[in-house]
Subunit: 263 residues, 4 copies
């Protein structure tokens, strides 16, 4: 039988760190408490490739994604990192690799009560779940991207009043796959580090409360970044990366702060 | 009782065509065949504002969205345009306006059989549903954005072989809200206009079939655009807008074609 | 001699409104006051195509762009709309069309003095220049996209203090090509409509001044939009379109206002 | 004299890796061969911040950028990495830091002769120049993002004909600031790794030549990535990172390959 093109020797002998599919959008279904949840994440799945192989069999990567999604849809306690691991397990039976990595990006909606009127408000956050396998070892990186604001303390000192703006806080945790971490808890840490939490629905009394909270907690982008790193100390055995971008209302450019820690 | 700031007279008297919320991402649930579907679309909701009012009560717009979503989640035959209408109906009870418009953007996943191996392949398409109310009249605009390819006929003539590239076809239908149109049918019209349909999963025998189909149907971006307009004649009482962008493999720039028709 | 593929009859007979190249980035040089200015705009050039022609000769569109750029680089008083017209003139000698349109997008940097310290601050704005030819008639559309801020008057009423955020104001003028309009004047109209102008460089004394200006001019997104429309009345014989997006610091979503007028 | 807010002790004591300005677009002028070049790059400038300082004096970062740009505009042999170093030197006199980093992103236009007709064609590439200072040591990272294509060898084997698509190749070199490397040479290495180079202007005879070159050099995304890594061995004392994304014409998703090497 003729060998596939992918299985031949390449002209240039170089090991590749990652080969695979990216920007693949597909339907994921998970059962949770007897209900079917459906969403359309963006997926990247890559494996390493030895210098002796011309190419990867990419259709097997797509099959591993499809089969894991199909199987997870029958689970009653699905999770994105469970799906990620399952994709790598399925792929391991179809294709040889030493290290493989799957990244799943989607929106996570969390319901909150508004601060005064107590109404339900649906809050959407961008999340990213990465599962990596090196040999037999599985690790993960969980990321959340959360909206909030900064209220400039320096402006208060020099003019008696702050400039205020939207800010975006990002928290990434790198840890072993088995280390149980809730994405909602990560979102909570980031929200808690801002001058105030923000809400999709705000009645006048809620708005007044949010604004009072802002003025009571003036914060530089540096303060928010430190607050995230500090708040993340509750996540044990993690490498923590924090980044905050403040979309300045007095400038055309943004300001940025980054920090990291190991707990 | 003190009047809200929004209800005052503005300094500059000008009618505004649209005032509202945009880039709002929230959780939408629809029941279909006894199953709960969940997704996180991006929503814009706007109304016109007379020259005599300083501002719109924007929290009422968010409430109309929340309440309509809550109500639709109990429907057994929800649709995005049904949700759009419901948002405008709910808003009409909370806020005065002459014209209002809601735009919902999300991904729609359609399952297809691969051409030879007959496997299920999940295909994701970006869609946009706009519902507009002018007085008592409701209209809608439905849009789909679909991936395919172009295979250059001119290149075949001058070199015996075509250059090939990914292309993106867009079809928009403007019609009355009551005119029943299936988004899947719109996607089908666009896919049928390309040199070949494309698939997320392709085994070798499928890939060979897709490639044969490409070479058997060389098409300029102009041909694809005309094909979409022609295929859309099945949608009656519609204004049709088509746009195709071909991401040229021999250039750094893209090529584009646009056309419209009324059926 | 054999006819080019493009010159044949297409299978589907449909007139196309626009066929051409898009997302083309190239180097433009203009001489101004004895100095050579260089920048890399994004260009789209399209023409209509009759139902009897299969395709447009797209390389002639690229040639028209190149030749006009080359010729304009020797001018001592180049302008983007002059370049746009020249592209259409050059194209008219190479390719038949009834209507043609060129869109040039780039950044325009304007120097301002900071409000107190009086330093030079370079302020960058996104601009778009569209030149259209229908038969022998030339029209244009000029657009500017300018950063500023909104300071919520309603929040002041209910909590004594405003929430503040970055806002983006857009002004588009549609008029005859000969109607002389300065992009810098358009930017000035948009900046003047915000609660305060913003600057790239701000020393402490400037920042205090900007913040005082913000608190002295609380404005809804509606107010900013009306202010742009009102300020644009100085541009005669124009169709005016204004749009403002406020990136709310108390919400995850944005708010939007749109209006138009004819002067 | 009162201490600035930034100079106080923060509540949470954490060292920050990066604090600064980002997404700052400004006008840069460089003299080259007696001619003034102008362009509007996007700049990020950050420094580390000790745990004992509440904030950085961000206006000094903007001043360092402005002053270095002003000074470089009078140089007769300006370069982006020279500007980057100058920004860090200027900043060192205004603000204390251990490590500082400036990233400049812009478009670089290179002129090429088309392969057969020999015409000039302006080719635009996205580039990124990062200069970093740690103590007294300066390093840099140079990146180019270049368009090309992949021509599938597996498809040729199974169907006799390839599918073809646009691909994007990225090459990054990390090295000491003094190691002289030409961005044009980096672009050349990436272009040389594709199935064929691409051009903005192509007359029919050029197009035929490009297409022949494509079919003569079928390449997987893996082959292109290895080709970049291999071609980059001419850059001595560098860490090399390569990434290629192929925008598949038979799929909705992209395929990706990544590799790295040290020379």
């Amino acid at each position: 039988m003729k060998r596939d093109t992918q299985d031949r020797k390449p002209k240039v002998r170089r090991m590749l760190d990652k080969v695979g599919v990216t920007n693949l959008k597909t339907l994921v279904q998970t059962m949770w408490g007897g209900r079917l949840y459906k969403f359309v994440p963006k997926i990247q799945l890559t494996i390493d490739l030895p210098e002796s192989r011309k190419g990867a069999h990419l259709s097997r990567l797509v099959e591993a994604i499809s089969e894991a999604i199909e199987e997870e849809s029958r689970e009653t306690h699905g999770s994105l990192e469970g799906l990620g691991k399952n994709i790598l397990v399925k792929l391991g039976r179809k294709h040889q690799f030493k290290s493989g990595e799957v990244v799943i990006e989607t929106d996570l909606v969390v319901f909150r009560k508004t601060p005064v009127s107590g109404r339900d408000s649906a809050e959407s956050h961008e999340i990213k779940v990465k599962v990596r396998r090196d040999g037999a070892e599985y690790t993960k990186a969980l990321s959340v991207r959360v909206y909030g604001n900064t209220v400039c303390p320096h402006s208060i000192e020099i003019s008696g009043r702050p400039h205020i703006q939207r800010a975006i806080g990002m928290l990434e945790l790198e840890t072993s796959l088995g280390n149980s971490i809730n994405l909602e808890d990560m979102i909570d840490v980031v929200e808690g580090a801002f001058s105030s939490r923000v809400y999709t629905l705000l009645k006048s009394e809620d708005e007044a409360s949010v604004v009072r909270s802002m003025y009571a907690n003036p914060k530089f982008v540096e303060d928010v970044c430190r607050g995230i790193i500090h708040g993340a100390r509750k996540f044990k055995r993690c490498r923590v990366n924090a980044k905050v971008i403040s979309e300045e209302s007095i400038h055309r450019h943004d300001v940025i702060a980054e920090a990291s820690a190991s707990y």
